[in-house]
């Protein structure tokens, strides 16, 4: 689209075209520095976007309000990065990291979250105008960093789509509807943050109980199961099984066994611990019967628990159905499980199923 610019506006646009390669480089540098640092700090993002304003977009801005800008550097959002977090708490955390990484131009930065009047509505993000630290070739070019939550981002996108930026032009009959929605999103953001904090507390509590060995007090859940398997409860059995063929143990997650534990009616980690203890020797015997006649010297870390579950269902008298359930829980439903169940049933006679030892 051709734009009608004043000579001054055209001058700024020409400078933009000259500086474009440096601005692209600046955008990539800033983007990468943020990604690397947030990764190091363990901050998970919903998304990070970066861009250099297009020539057409800048020309449009200069056409509308070119006289406002004395130099190109006065247009602070030519290079922009948007960081979208999951939680409101992380907006502040990311902001603190950004402040350490870059020089902030406080006169032009704004925390739009705090800028609202009590009676106004809207749901906005934190905007920092920054420069690279040091006096390198890119440090003279300003860039904007916006930090917002995913819900703020949704609000902003819808606001843009509807075409009402801020409350001023909005017909009064819609003001209330907008206010309710922005309030709801703000509340939802706060509640998600609170939920995360509460769940972190719960996880720490569960981890402490697991570490102290009070397993009967720990209900079986995804978190408690994770804490339990982090203690490698199967390592001794796995090592014993591996010793049959001097096998290597390939690391694998035991998380898929959680539904199986629930299927067995285990209520607490104490129940699981007892079940393991009662079936550990049988699980070893099952592995021995299978592996001793082979030269297989690589095993998955799941082998010990898999055999414990198989031995448990056999001892419970659940027969082929039980064995099939174990394979379905571990492998998902597929046509192979039937044959695997038959293979185990063929070995039942060689297993000490009546006693515990």
């Amino acid at each position: 689209m051709s734009r009608i610019l004043t000579p001054h506006g055209q001058q700024l646009l020409n400078k933009y075209l000259r500086l474009l390669p440096q601005m692209q480089q600046l955008k990539d540098t800033v983007h990468q520095q943020i990604v690397d640092t947030l990764h190091e700090q363990g901050v998970e993002l919903n998304a990070i976007e970066s861009r250099v304003k297009s020539e057409d977009s800048l020309a449009g801005k200069l056409e509308r309000k070119g006289d406002k800008y004395r130099t190109l550097e006065d247009i602070t959002d030519v290079v922009g990065v948007r960081i979208i977090t999951f939680y409101t708490d992380d907006v502040d955390k990311v902001a603190a990291i950004v402040k350490k990484l870059f020089l902030i131009d406080w006169n032009n930065s704004v925390d739009k979250r705090k800028a609202h009047e009590l009676t106004s509505f809207g749901y906005n993000s934190l905007h920092y105008i920054c420069h690279l630290r040091g006096d390198g070739p890119l440090s003279g070019i300003p860039f904007e960093i916006q930090i917002r939550t995913a819900l703020m981002h949704v609000w902003s996108a819808i606001e843009h789509d509807i075409g009402y930026k801020g409350a001023v032009q909005l017909p009064p009959e819609f003001r209330r509807q907008f206010s309710r929605l922005s309030g709801m999103l703000e509340l939802a953001d706060d509640e998600f943050s609170r939920l995360r904090t509460t769940m972190s507390d719960y996880r720490r509590h569960i981890q402490a109980l697991v570490k102290s060995g009070k397993l009967d007090e720990v209900p079986l859940s995804m978190d408690s199961w994770r804490s339990f398997i982090e203690m490698h409860p199967m390592s001794r059995l796995n090592q014993r099984i591996a010793a049959v063929n001097q096998a290597e143990i390939y690391p694998a997650s035991l998380m898929p066994f959680l539904p199986l534990m629930e299927l067995f009616g285990m209520q607490t980690l104490g129940d699981v611990q007892r079940m393991i203890g009662e079936n550990i020797e049988g699980a070893y015997q099952l592995a021995l019967a299978q592996l001793a006649v082979t030269d297989l010297d690589i095993l998955s870390e799941t082998i010990g628990l898999q055999n414990i579950c198989l031995y448990y269902v056999l001892r419970q008298g659940m027969g082929r159905e039980g064995v099939l359930k174990v394979f379905e829980a571990i492998n998902g439903k597929n046509s192979y499980n039937e044959a695997l169940a038959d293979g185990i049933m063929a070995q039942v006679d060689s297993l000490p199923l009546k006693g515990n030892s």
Binding site: Y250, A252, N331, Y336, L340, I344
Partner: protein
């Protein structure tokens, strides 16, 4: 041991034929190299004509899985005969792969 690589409907398919034992492993390892370029393409290891797999063969399958996962590719095993299924089960490998 013979391997054949084909692209079928955006999937990378490797056909295995014969005995994948220790002796055949080094050549097979080279033959499966095209799978390293999967970049999001799902992989099917077709074992319909595979007669035997040793620990070396399992390690090759694991290496394919390890390479594919970070690229967002899934690895499916197809057509395992009954003996080979038992090998996968007794090593705990059934929980690592998906079977079709």
């Amino acid at each position: 041991m013979k391997t054949t690589f084909k692209e079928e409907n955006t999937k990378y398919v490797m056909y295995f034929e014969g005995r994948l034992d220790t002796a055949a492993a080094p050549q097979t390892e080279r033959d499966v190299q095209p799978l390293n370029d999967c970049m999001g393409h799902d992989i099917i290891l077709d074992c319909t004509k595979l007669e035997y797999i040793s620990s070396s063969g399992l390690r090759i399958f694991l290496a394919i899985l390890k390479n594919a996962k970070p690229k967002g590719s899934k690895v499916y095993i197809r057509g395992l005969n009954e003996d080979l299924r038992q090998v996968f089960a007794m090593t705990g490998f059934t929980s690592l792969f998906e079977f079709v």
